[in-house]
């Protein structure tokens, strides 16, 4: 078998290992997915009435806010899942098993790609659950088949970027505790973007930051796809660029540190 063939086989072996871990230790997955659900309920039922009126739409109120906040909540879901990635990778690094893998003739990157694929599955699982809850609350996506296909692609791309970033955070963390804290800023970024309120209501400097940081384009593309409206070229370009840049950065840092340890 070729080197690439082995890399794929080893990756699928490592993915199986990750899936078993999730099975054995389901509380982490449940917590990672449960949190955005709680956030969604909180924002819709506690703040939704008031914030919805402030959106300046035709109807306003809780229903309008549900439609506005759901795409943002999907990105919060991904930000939450990738915290689990950092914790999982850091936990792995503290275990003796990693040294065993490193003394075996296997595709080394498969240890990391196993984590990446495992987190991708968690990410889609989380998105499905949160979207399901939003629909149950009355959210009605206007996306057609092509939009849904685009949505899957965009979510895969965004997850991929954020997951590789947190793989790097997990691998460079000194301990599991610091690995669980370091990706925290990813949870704050949607707040400093268009997840909960439109960015044009923010002070100029903050608005500038909000418009160009990764989460606003992520959210805007998702929002357009779910609403079945045209995706803005600038947002799509920023989404693709940010995702690939984060993935590349994470991959390079993670690989270097994995071989060094």
């Amino acid at each position: 078998m070729s080197t690439l063939g082995y890399a794929l086989t080893d990756t699928s072996t490592m993915l199986r290992r990750q899936l078993k871990h999730m099975q054995r230790y389901p509380s982490l997955t449940v917590m990672l997915i449960g949190m955005p659900v709680v956030f969604l309920l909180l924002f819709v039922f506690v703040f939704g009435g008031t914030l919805g009126d402030g959106l300046g739409g035709m109807t306003g109120g809780r229903d309008a806010y549900l439609a506005y906040v759901t795409p943002g909540m999907l990105m919060i879901t991904i930000a939450g899942v990738v915290q689990g990635t950092a914790i999982g990778v850091a936990m792995d690094m503290t275990q003796g098993i990693i040294d065993r893998f490193r003394t075996m003739s296997i595709a080394r990157v498969s240890v990391l790609t196993g984590h990446v694929l495992g987190s991708m599955i968690q990410s889609f699982l989380g998105i499905a659950v949160v979207l399901g809850v939003a629909v149950a609350l009355g959210f009605r996506p206007e996306a057609d088949a092509l939009d849904w296909l685009g949505l899957v692609g965009v979510i895969a791309l965004i997850s991929f970027g954020l997951i590789w970033l947190t793989v790097a955070l997990g691998i460079t963390a000194k301990s599991v505790e610091s690995a669980s804290n370091s990706p925290m800023f990813l949870m704050i970024l949607p707040f400093l973007g268009s997840a909960f309120v439109p960015t044009d209501s923010m002070p100029t400097a903050l608005q500038y930051f909000a418009d160009y940081q990764p989460f606003t384009p992520f959210i805007e593309v998702t929002r357009s796809l779910l609403a079945g409206t045209a995706v803005e070229g600038k947002d799509l370009a920023l989404t693709v660029a940010w995702s690939l840049a984060l993935a590349l950065l994470g991959y390079v840092v993670a690989k270097k540190n994995f071989n060094k340890r």
Partner: protein
């Protein structure tokens, strides 16, 4: 390529430092195929560092090393496919069951479904882990974890096995089991590189022993050669009164005495004859003995005679 070397492991002038701290100050190792080589030394001597270099986990600062005829850094992947490593801390996946851990290894060695299954069951049987196969290692005893660890290491049929302090922290019975396992492996022609803190263990298992201290090999040879370099053991006596300590030390030609502790050390090979002589002499002198212990040569004596230091200083 140097694949035709009769040596399974060869290292020349291996060095390693972390910052200013020199861990290995140039060591040479030669292990013929199918033999057991033991690296004996106290904590911090550089045993684990040596294993890490030879098993491709870290790079040496200087010198060259070949394992299975392959260079450890240039042909790391070839080295990896020839070796199995069992470290000081069990390298098992704590969230997978014993059986799943073995299956994971089988898949990573690309053994195929049938072969993975067959070897998994065979190793579970051989290492007495059948009953625990469905449990995760969290429920295992120290000895069981170590057995699973070695079983995982054997899944890929390695020709050369590194065992880094395989019995540290095990109770005497698990230690015996581990020794039996190692002997079995040697019978099958596997080359074993073993590190240990216990002279007894090296003596039991190794064809050759090298004593590592402070990053240098201070002695190397067969167990018999090494033991000849070590003075015999001694008898330690505890007496009742201080004046008797002086008297006893004199008549017995003691190697040491401590008036405060009321103890006297007498060189002895520990035989019944020599014991009887000592006690007879004390009887004649009217010295009463409160306590007597026989001390057989151990790592401390090896170090005392080879380096002039006790292991506690290392």
């Amino acid at each position: 390529m140097t694949t035709t070397k009769p040596l399974a492991i060869e290292a020349r002038n291996l060095t390693k430092s972390y910052g200013d701290k020199v861990v290995l100050a140039g060591i040479d190792i030669a292990v013929p195929e199918g033999t057991v080589y033991s690296l004996l030394g106290p904590n911090g001597a550089g045993k684990t560092t040596t294993v890490q270099i030879l098993s491709t986990l870290i790079q040496a600062g200087g010198g060259e090393a070949f394992v299975g005829g392959h260079h450890v850094t240039r042909d790391a992947d070839e080295v990896r496919s020839a070796i199995g490593v069992t470290g000081q801390f069990a390298a098992v996946d704590t969230l997978l069951t014993g059986r799943e851990n073995l299956q994971l290894m089988g898949r990573l060695h690309h053994l195929g479904k049938q072969e993975t299954k067959r070897r998994t069951e065979e190793l579970l049987e051989r290492f007495d882990l059948v009953d625990a196969a469905k449990q995760t290692p969290a429920t295992y005893s120290g000895g069981m974890k170590r057995r699973l660890d070695i079983a995982m290491c054997l899944m890929g049929n390695p020709r050369i096995i590194f065992l880094d302090e395989p019995t540290t922290g095990l109770d005497p019975r698990s230690r015996r089991t581990m020794w039996a396992i190692i002997r079995e492996l040697v019978k099958g022609g596997t080359t074993i590189f073993l590190t240990t803190q216990y002279l007894e263990e090296a003596d039991e298992l190794a064809d050759r022993i090298a004593v590592l201290d402070g990053g240098k090999l201070v002695a190397e040879g067969t167990p018999e050669q090494l033991k000849r370099m070590i003075p015999g053991g001694h008898i330690s006596l505890r007496l009742h009164r201080a004046d008797q300590v002086e008297r006893a030390a004199q008549v017995l030609a003691a190697s040491g005495s401590d008036i405060d502790q009321l103890t006297v050390q007498v060189p002895s090979d520990g035989s019944v004859d020599s014991l009887r002589k000592v006690l007879d002499t004390l009887d004649r002198e009217g010295v009463e003995v409160e306590e007597l212990t026989i001390h057989t040569p151990d790592l401390d004596d090896v170090f005392l005679s080879l380096t002039g230091q006790t292991t506690t200083a290392a």
